[in-house]
C-alpha cells in the first residue's frame, strides 16, 4: 500500500505523472526553503528586530537592493508551492467529494491572490533613498 521507506512524509506516488512530480518538488522546494526561510527568519528576528521594521525601514533598508527583493520573491514562490501543496495533502486526507473540491478551489484561489499581492508589492514598492 505505501512505499517501504517513509516515516512521516507522504509515500512516493507509484503512478508517475503530476503526483510524482509534486512529490519530488515538495522535497526540492523543502531543501531550498530550509536555507531561504531560515535565513529570512534569522535576518528579521536576530540580525534586526521587528520593533525597527516599519514601512520606511522596509523601503530604505530591507528592500533597497534588487538582491533582497529577488531573495524574498524567490522565497515567496517556493513557499507558495510548498505550503499550498502541503495543505492540499492535508485537505485530501480529511475531506472528500464536494467538500474536498470546495476546499481545494478556495485553497488555489487564495494561493493565486497571494501570488498577485506578493509580486505586486515586490515590484512596485518605491526604493526610498536613505536620508
Amino acid at each position: 500500500m505505501s512505499a517501504p521507506y517513509t516515516r512521516s512524509g507522504r509515500a512516493r506516488p507509484s503512478g508517475g505523472g503530476p503526483e510524482l512530480a509534486i512529490w519530488y518538488l515538495m522535497r526540492v522546494t523543502g531543501v531550498a526553503l530550509f536555507v531561504l526561510a531560515l535565513t529570512h527568519f534569522l535576518i528579521i528576528h536576530v540580525i534586526y528586530d521587528p520593533s525597527e521594521q516599519d514601512a520606511t525601514w522596509i523601503a530604505q533598508v530591507r528592500w533597497s537592493s534588487l538582491f533582497w527583493r529577488a531573495f524574498d520573491w524567490s522565497l515567496l514562490m517556493l513557499v507558495l508551492f510548498h505550503a499550498f501543496m502541503g495543505v492540499r495533502t492535508v485537505i485530501a486526507d480529511y475531506a472528500q467529494g464536494g467538500r474536498r473540491m470546495f476546499l481545494l478551489t478556495g485553497l488555489y484561489l487564495l494561493a493565486g491572490v497571494l501570488f498577485v499581492l506578493g509580486t505586486v508589492v515586490v515590484l512596485t514598492l518605491p526604493v526610498v533613498p536613505k536620508g
Binding site: 512521516s8 512516493r12 530550509f34 526561510a37 528586530d49 516599519d54 514601512a55 505550503a83
Partner: protein, 123 residues
C-alpha cells in the same frame, strides 16, 4: 489515525510535522497580506507592526520560529530517509538528532527574540 503510523516517535514526528506545517502556512497567508500593506497602506502596516513587536507578538514569533525550525529539521529527516531508504532503520535516532539541533539552535534564538520583553526594545 493514531495507529496508522504505528505510533511511537514516527507517529509523533508526522503529527508535529503536519501541525507545524499548517501553522507556518497560516502565518504565510497573514505575512503576504501585511507586506502588501507596506505598499498599499503603510499606516495600517505600521499599526500591525506594533503588535508584532509587543510582548504577545514576540511570544507568538517564538512559537512561529519553533514551528518553522521543527518543520525544517524534520523535513530534512524525511528527505534523507526518502532518498536513502536504509537510513529509515534509524528514523528514531534521526528524530532525536533533529531535537538536539532544535534545542541547540532554538534556545539562543528564542532568547534574542524574547529579551526585549524584560529589557525594553533594542536601540
Amino acid at each position: 489515525m493514531l495507529f496508522r503510523y504505528r505510533g511511537g516517535e514516527g507517529m509523533l514526528a508526522w503529527a508535529f510535522h503536519r501541525i507545524s506545517g499548517v501553522a507556518v502556512w497560516a502565518f504565510v497567508v497573514l505575512h503576504v497580506i501585511d507586506i502588501y500593506l507596506v505598499g498599499g497602506n503603510p499606516e495600517a502596516y505600521n499599526e500591525l507592526l506594533k503588535i508584532y513587536a509587543s510582548p504577545i507578538g514576540r511570544v507568538l514569533e517564538t512559537v512561529l520560529g519553533a514551528a518553522l525550525l521543527y518543520h525544517a529539521l524534520n523535513g530534512l529527516r524525511i528527505i534523507v530517509m526518502d532518498f536513502w531508504p536504509p537510513l529509515t532503520r534509524y528514523h528514531r535516532q534521526l528524530w532525536y538528532l533533529a531535537w538536539v539541533i532544535f534545542v541547540g539552535v532554538g534556545l539562543p534564538v528564542a532568547y534574542v527574540i524574547l529579551k526585549p520583553i524584560w529589557e525594553g526594545a533594542p536601540a
